[in-house]
Subunit: 99 residues, 5 copies
Amino acid sequence: MQICEVVGHVWATKKEEALVGMKLMIVRELGTNPRRSETSFVAADTVGAGVGERVLVVSGSTARIAAGGDRLPVDAAIVGIIDSLEADCEKGNGEHGPV
Amino acid sequence: MQICEVVGHVWATKKEEALVGMKLMIVRELGTNPRRSETSFVAADTVGAGVGERVLVVSGSTARIAAGGDRLPVDAAIVGIIDSLEADCEKGNGEHGPV
Amino acid sequence: MQICEVVGHVWATKKEEALVGMKLMIVRELGTNPRRSETSFVAADTVGAGVGERVLVVSGSTARIAAGGDRLPVDAAIVGIIDSLEADCEKGNGEHGPV
Amino acid sequence: MQICEVVGHVWATKKEEALVGMKLMIVRELGTNPRRSETSFVAADTVGAGVGERVLVVSGSTARIAAGGDRLPVDAAIVGIIDSLEADCEKGNGEHGPV
Amino acid sequence: MQICEVVGHVWATKKEEALVGMKLMIVRELGTNPRRSETSFVAADTVGAGVGERVLVVSGSTARIAAGGDRLPVDAAIVGIIDSLEADCEKGNGEHGPV
């Protein structure tokens, strides 16, 4: 699962029927190399996440299962809202220290 | 789902039978690090997207489902046309601000 | 689907039984950031592509379907030979202009 | 499988029902290009790994199987704790030498 | 399939039951951008590859099939030992020339 922050919403009127009613959030991966950290993408939300919250995001076929159905046209989904995380930064670059 | 812009079309006469009649669009991911932003690829379109529109694209096995069949040789598909998106750029780099 | 160019062949005598008789081509993705454009990989070919041709390549579980069987040990497959592509380069970096 | 180091834990109270009781660890890939080596992500742990240990991590649909069920909303899982690894560094950059 | 070189072995005593007896090799992708070429990972071997040999590696759900079972916790597998490869380097950067 990727550690992401919810940064916004996206609206699409014209879309696949199966996406109607699904809450779509823009998320951005956290804790990665700053050179690559600007990648944001859209994930379906079923846990009630809000902008500014740190969340766990699953991708691929797992996202369909998380979103509630094998036939959903979804390839990323928020599966949890992070309360806290604790990382040993001594061996790393401290990327999660200030998170 | 990736946030992409439709930038063109691709034509292939010699192809797998299952691709006949499928509308194939060239899309490019938006909102990522400029150093990586030039990646373009081909996605099947079932929602009627046109060049210049911002779209939501799914990849992998989800694309087959979105394109209408588990046996389709498709690994990327446009699932929605974006009306608007709203991202909190204060914590980010504003990549979606001007989009 | 990735836009690739066929750049060569690969031969492997010792391999999984299911790969026997399968035509394996070396392909390289086109139109991406020059810093990343050198990635080449091997794809199964079922459409009769030749070296120098631009092709559409699918990856992952879709490649097995494209190659003709769910049980094939294949994760990339050529599904079409590109006749032409037309991309709006005004908003991009023209990567497909000279292709 | 990726060669990773366990660097921490993550807690999420609000999450998908199926994740309740699952041990979620923050892992970071080892042995890659330093420019890319800071990517950390979350993996389900079923083998009892602890912070500081080097582990093997599987991703994608394989992670669901490793975690114990096809319907689990998990896309990364620790499948083994590395006792030792031996890599020929003469042809490489010695990235595993000091590991 | 990725073109890789076998660079070593990895041992893990504590691991998922299904991995017992499986030969796990450290492989490194060849022929990519030098800036990215240091990525090494672990693949299950069923064709008898040895250190120093160039091999074809499949990833994702295909690796489970290649390794012999849909329920194996494996996401990368060696499917062939490369005898030779021939790539048109005129249009590329010659990355496979000296391989």
